[in-house]
Symmetry: C2
Subunit: 366 residues, 2 copies
């Protein structure tokens, strides 16, 4: 059951559970502040492959594999898979998840894809179109630089407003029941073994679910005419402000109703703009706002400038950090709002602006 | 209300209506066998723009505009928009539909996107997540050649198995009620006026709805290892056979239950393979099978080889021809199954295969 509480805001009367999730990241992400929380950290960013695109497909494949394993599910027990990435024609997803043979919806929401997938997945579960659904997204620093900017070998300079695309994949198992199986709970971090293309058995399972999705607000493409692909935080801030304002109005809520209001990858530049824009709309979110892109790297020490970005950024931070806080009841309710910049190399080269979108989900401790 | 009748097959107990739709195509499509049925035919394929990508965005924009106008709806009355195209990062959609400011789900299903959008749109309507939803897809011959193969100026040769990407955009308004407003019904074909970037008033409306969606089977990515991007019919046939077989099993139906079983863009090469594959699975679909790619062009006279292809191919054929047959009760029930080849220029150049997917929808006369 669900109830529309606005044009595109939905309250799920019977919540949808994120029973399990998994995260796999590259070396740099493993060295960052959240490094110890990820399920798998790669020794290098090729993950045993010969191309960056294939490596990104491994991120998708392993994230889904591990999430299913944690949930005690076989691929054939999953009704629907929602998958997306940043590459042209979403090839990281198509090649990454095809072996599971799960009925598939391909998504493109740029770095908002994790939010888009969870929203559609939750709608599918709550509407009884699926008993189990999996949502997966990924990004890879090297494949993204090649896709959007320059080959790594070119060694281009990056302004301080630029973000660093996260190498990572995150997968989430959605279910109508909080039916996660019991298992020993050990906080183990696996390191990728290049001689062995699978990851070891995970023993982090506990009874119930990691969190529940109780509502959502679907994003509107917002384009303020900004054209700087090296300052995507600024391009995306207006879209997240638009979604956030509609969310507060539709749900009759306010910033203090959430322990955290979490954007995907605005970075430090975009964060300031969002807080300012919300202030002008009458909402002070400065105490609650958190950005996955800021959390995932130590910008100073790791030279990532404005922060992390990419579909994988919000996905792995959700899996490794945010859901852990909800699971441990440190937070009771958060608004998770991945943000996406809808540009391409072609649109950028043709002098177009960078439209953006952000989808918001209410996540609650079970 | 809806009922799952298989792992990823859904019967909509209360059907979802396609109340209105619109199609806009390029010059070549206008000269084809269905030419007189399209709502708008361009005088050239630039539609008043200076780049092929912008021209494709116009296809999306005008298709949505015209569908809303026919349905007597304002953009702000629409809850959700499902949009996708073939270009990297779906820029034809993002730039084409952003001005409507409708809450947006970006999709990537290659040429199956029309089926993916209608499936998710129908799920959203039936689940009461939306009162009105719009689904739109497009493709453009020139932007697709540039994106997937070679610039047009290169003048590359095309084998007989190759298909010709349709320049076209199709949009569909979904609703829980068959609430299309009454208007005069005239079969008028508009020609694009390059001095005027809008299309004239459409008077094709009639009471009720064009058709209803009563069920669906979601596709599974299927990869037989074929690598020939100039023979996408062969790459996609196994995916459509997989969906079709699951559909027949899940719904307990057989080919004769449908007046037509309609694939998106297998072309004449893919059609033969699909019919053969289904024969081996025990289903003779030779009497019912129809392919939008075969219908849209006169392959001999228009030199399109195996047939038409692209997201736009199935979308404009659905809007202009298939829904017309259902509306006029010439057909009572069809299975509409757009097919998509999930390759990219990068995956092709890296020597990867061409995975494919197909989603099936049961469309019935009202």
């Amino acid at each position: 059951m669900s109830e529309r509480v606005g044009r595109a805001s939905i309250r799920l009367e019977e919540p949808v559970y994120i029973t399990e999730s998994a995260s796999i990241v590259g070396k740099k992400e493993g060295e960052g502040p959240l490094g110890l929380l990820f399920d798998v950290v790669g020794e290098d960013d090729l993950f045993g492959c010969t191309s960056w695109e294939e490596a990104e497909s491994v991120l998708q494949k392993q994230a889904v594999s591990l999430a299913l394993e944690k949930a005690g599910l076989k691929a054939e027990e999953v009704n629907l898979l929602f998958a997306g990435d940043l590459l042209g024609q979403s090839i990281a997803s198509s090649f990454g998840v095809s072996a599971f043979r799960i009925p598939h919806f391909g998504l493109y929401g740029a770095c908002s894809t994790c939010g888009e997938g969870l929203a559609l997945g939750a709608m599918a579960i709550a509407g009884n179109y699926a008993e189990k659904a999996v949502c997966v997204t990924s990004s890879h620093f090297a494949s993204a630089e090649k896709e959007f900017r320059f080959p790594l070998d070119y060694g281009n300079q990056r302004p301080l407003s630029a973000t660093w695309t996260v190498t990572g994949g995150g997968a989430f198992v959605l279910s109508r029941q909080a039916d996660r199986k019991k298992a020993e709970k050990n906080n183990i971090c696996y390191y990728w073994d290049t001689t062995n293309t699978s990851v070891g058995k995970n023993t982090q399972m506990s009874v119930g679910a990691r969190a529940r999705i109780s509502g959502m607000t679907i994003g509107i493409i917002t384009d303020f005419g900004l054209k700087d692909s090296m300052n995507m935080g600024a391009c995306m801030a207006p879209a997240s402000a638009s979604t956030l304002e509609r969310h507060f109005i539709d749900f009759g809520s306010q910033p203090s109703d959430y322990d955290r209001i979490i954007t995907g990858d605005l970075g430090s530049v975009g964060q300031k703009i969002l807080i300012d824009m919300m202030q002008k709309k009458g909402y002070d979110i400065s105490a609650q706002h958190m950005d996955c892109g800021i959390e995932i790297f130590d910008a100073q020490a790791q030279d990532t400038h404005s922060g992390g970005s990419g579909c994988g950024c919000s996905a792995v931070t959700l899996s490794a950090y945010i859901l852990k806080q909800l699971e441990e009841k440190n937070w009771k309710r958060v608004l998770f709002m991945p943000t996406g910049a809808l540009l391409s190399k072609t649109s950028f080269n043709e002098g177009k602006s960078v439209p953006a979108i952000a989808h918001a989900l209410i996540l609650e401790a079970c």
